[in-house]
C-alpha cells in the first residue's frame, strides 16, 4: 500500500463530505422588473441547486381594466383601447374586435377595405415577429441580431405609419371599412384616407428587405452552435400538453399541431391567397424560434399576393351616422401574431356594448410556464420564457 499524499487525502475527504451535503431549497424571486420578462411579470421559483422545482407566475401588474373601460365607451372609441392590448402588433388586435361588431351589426365591409386590413395585419405580424427575433437571441446572450431585426422592423413600422398615422396604435379600422376621410367637414370630407402614393411599391421593396434580414438571421442565429446548444431539446412541450393548456399561435405550431386561424376562419380574405403554415416537430425552444422565422417569410409572401390582388372600390360600406348595434352576442377570433385572439361582445342594443370579453393569446401561452419550467435548469429559465413570446399587456389587459 502506497502512502497517500496528504493533500490528495484531504481533497478526497472533502469530496466525500460534499456528496452527502444537501442543497437546501431556495425561493428565487424574479421580477417584476426583469428585462427579459417582456413587461412586468414576476416569477416565484423554488430552486434546488441549479434545478427549478416549482414556478409560480404572478401577473396583474399591467392590468389596465380595458374590459371594464369598454363598457362605458361607444363602439368607435373601443378601437383605441384594443390597440393597446398587445402593443407590438396594434393593428392585428383591431381586426377581431371590429369584425365582431360588424357581424353583430350586420354590416359587410368593402372588399378593398378587407384587403387593406389584411396587408396591414401581416405587416403587424412581421413587426411583432421581428421583435421576437431581436429579443430572443438577446436573452440567450447574442446582442447583434437585435440591430438587424429592429432595423427592418422600423421599415415596416414606417409603412404602417404612412397609411394609418400611427406606428404602434394605428386606430385605422372603422365599422364597415377603414378610416374613410380625414375629417367630417365639407372640405376634408372628400379627402379620403386611402393608401398614400408609393405605399404599394414601398411595401414590395420592404418585403424584399424583410426576406434579406431573414437570410441574415438564418446565418447569425439559426446555424449558430451556441444558440442550438441553448435551445435544442430545451423546454419541450408535447402537442397534447400544448393543446390542454389552450396554447395557440407559433407556440402550438412548433409542437406540430397544424392550427392556424387564418386557414380556419373567414374574417379576412385569406382564402384567396396561397401560403404555408410552418410546423415544428419537437416543440422545443429552437422549433418555436424557427417557426416564427418561417412565418415572417410566409407573411411577406401573403403581402406580395395581397398587393397583386388588391381590388379597387370604396373604403367604407354604408353605416348609419350613430351606430346602434342590435341586441345579441358573438365571439369572433383571429390569428394574432401571438396566437388566437378573440372578442366576446354582448350588445343590448344601443351605442355602448354591454360587455367585451377579451381572449388574449399571451395569457393562455403563459399559463404553461409552471408546467414547462418544472425541472428545468435555472439558466434555461429565461430561454424557455423568452421562446414563448408573450407580451404582458396582452396577458393582463
Amino acid at each position: 500500500m502506497t502512502v497517500m499524499d496528504p493533500l490528495v487525502a484531504m481533497h478526497r475527504a472533502e469530496a466525500a463530505v460534499s456528496v452527502e451535503l444537501e442543497t437546501p431549497g431556495m425561493t428565487l424571486n424574479i421580477g417584476p422588473q426583469h428585462p427579459s420578462t417582456h413587461g412586468v411579470l414576476r416569477l416565484v421559483a423554488q430552486v434546488d441547486g441549479e434545478r427549478v422545482t416549482q414556478v409560480q407566475p404572478v401577473i396583474g401588474y399591467m392590468h389596465r381594466g380595458y374590459e371594464k373601460l369598454a363598457e362605458v365607451r361607444t363602439y368607435a372609441q373601443i378601437t383605441t383601447l384594443v390597440n393597446r392590448i398587445d402593443w407590438v402588433s396594434g393593428f392585428a388586435n383591431e381586426i377581431p374586435y371590429i369584425r365582431a361588431v360588424e357581424k353583430l351589426a350586420g354590416i359587410e365591409p368593402t372588399p378593398r377595405a378587407q384587403f387593406i386590413r389584411l396587408i396591414l395585419t401581416e405587416l403587424a405580424r412581421i413587426s411583432s415577429h421581428l421583435v421576437f427575433m431581436s429579443s430572443y437571441p438577446l436573452e440567450l446572450g447574442a446582442p447583434t441580431p437585435l440591430m438587424h431585426a429592429l432595423r427592418e422592423r422600423e421599415r415596416v413600422l414606417d409603412l404602417i405609419e404612412s397609411v394609418t398615422g400611427g406606428r404602434f396604435h394605428p386606430n385605422f379600422n372603422r365599422v364597415g371599412g377603414v378610416k374613410p376621410a380625414a375629417g367630417g367637414g365639407s372640405s376634408t370630407k372628400k379627402q379620403t384616407q386611402d393608401l398614400p402614393q408609393g405605399f404599394l411599391q414601398g411595401t414590395r421593396a420592404a418585403m424584399g428587405e424583410v426576406g434579406a434580414v431573414c437570410d441574415d438571421l438564418e446565418e447569425l442565429v439559426t446555424g449558430n452552435e451556441l444558440i442550438q446548444a441553448r435551445t435544442i431539446g430545451v423546454g419541450v412541450i408535447p402537442a397534447d400538453v400544448a393543446l390542454s393548456y389552450g396554447m395557440s399561435g407559433g407556440n402550438l405550431r412548433a409542437s406540430g399541431v397544424d392550427f392556424d386561424l387564418r386557414k380556419h376562419e373567414d374574417i379576412l380574405p385569406y382564402a384567396d391567397l396561397d401560403f404555408d403554415i410552418p410546423l415544428g416537430r419537437n416543440g422545443d425552444c429552437y422549433d418555436r424560434y424557427v417557426v416564427r422565422l418561417q412565418e415572417i417569410r410566409q407573411a411577406a409572401r401573403i403581402v406580395q399576393q395581397a398587393i397583386d390582388g388588391l381590388p379597387s372600390g370604396p373604403l367604407q360600406a354604408k353605416v348609419p351616422r350613430i351606430l346602434k348595434v342590435p341586441a345579441g352576442e358573438i365571439y369572433v377570433r383571429a390569428e394574432n401574431p401571438k396566437g388566437e385572439m378573440g372578442y366576446y361582445v354582448i350588445s343590448q342594443g344601443g351605442k355602448v356594448p354591454y360587455r367585451v370579453k377579451i381572449r388574449s393569446a399571451s395569457f393562455s401561452n403563459l399559463s404553461i410556464l409552471p408546467w414547462v419550467l418544472e425541472g428545468a435548469l435555472v439558466p434555461d429559465l429565461v430561454a424557455i420564457m423568452g421562446s414563448l413570446d408573450f407580451v404582458l399587456g396582452d396577458v393582463d389587459r
Binding site: H148, G165, H169, A182, G185, L200, L220, G223, E225, D276
Partner: protein, 161 residues
Amino acid sequence: MTQVDRNSAKLPLGGLLKGMKVTIKAMVTRVHTVQYPVVKETPVPRARGVIALDPEACTVCMLCARECPDWCIYIEGHKQEIPPDKEGGRVRTRSTLDRFDIDYALCMYCGICVEVCPFDALFWSPDYEYSEFSISDLLHDKERLTDWLETVPTPPALEGA
C-alpha cells in the same frame, strides 16, 4: 407544411463564421440611424403628432369633446348677440368660443375628434417637439392650438391617383 432543418451547420465554428460574415456586411452598409437633436427625421404627412385648431371654424358644438375616448378636450363658449344689419331686422345669436383646451397628458392620439368635427376646425399636424418639464404645461390652450395650424401639411397623394 415546412419542417425545421436541424443540421445546417456541420463545420466546427461554422455557424460563428457565417455570423461574422453578416456582421462584416453590415459594417460596410449605410448607417440607418440619425443623430436626433442635430439631424431630424421628417415624419410622414399623416403622422398623428399634435392637433391644430382653427378657432374661426369652431361652432362650439361639443362633438369632439363628447366623442373623445378619455374626455381630454375642455370647451367653453357663450351665445353672442349680433345686432341686425338694418333697422327693424332680427337679432341673431352666434356661439363664440371662449376656451378650447386639449390635455396632451391624457390624449391617446386616436384622432376621433378630428374625424367627427363637422366644420373642419381640427387638423392633425406631424409636429412632435412639445415635451415639457411640468405635466400641467401639456394642457394646450386655444392660442397654442391655433399656432399649430401653420405646421399642418397638405395631405399626401393617393395610390393610383
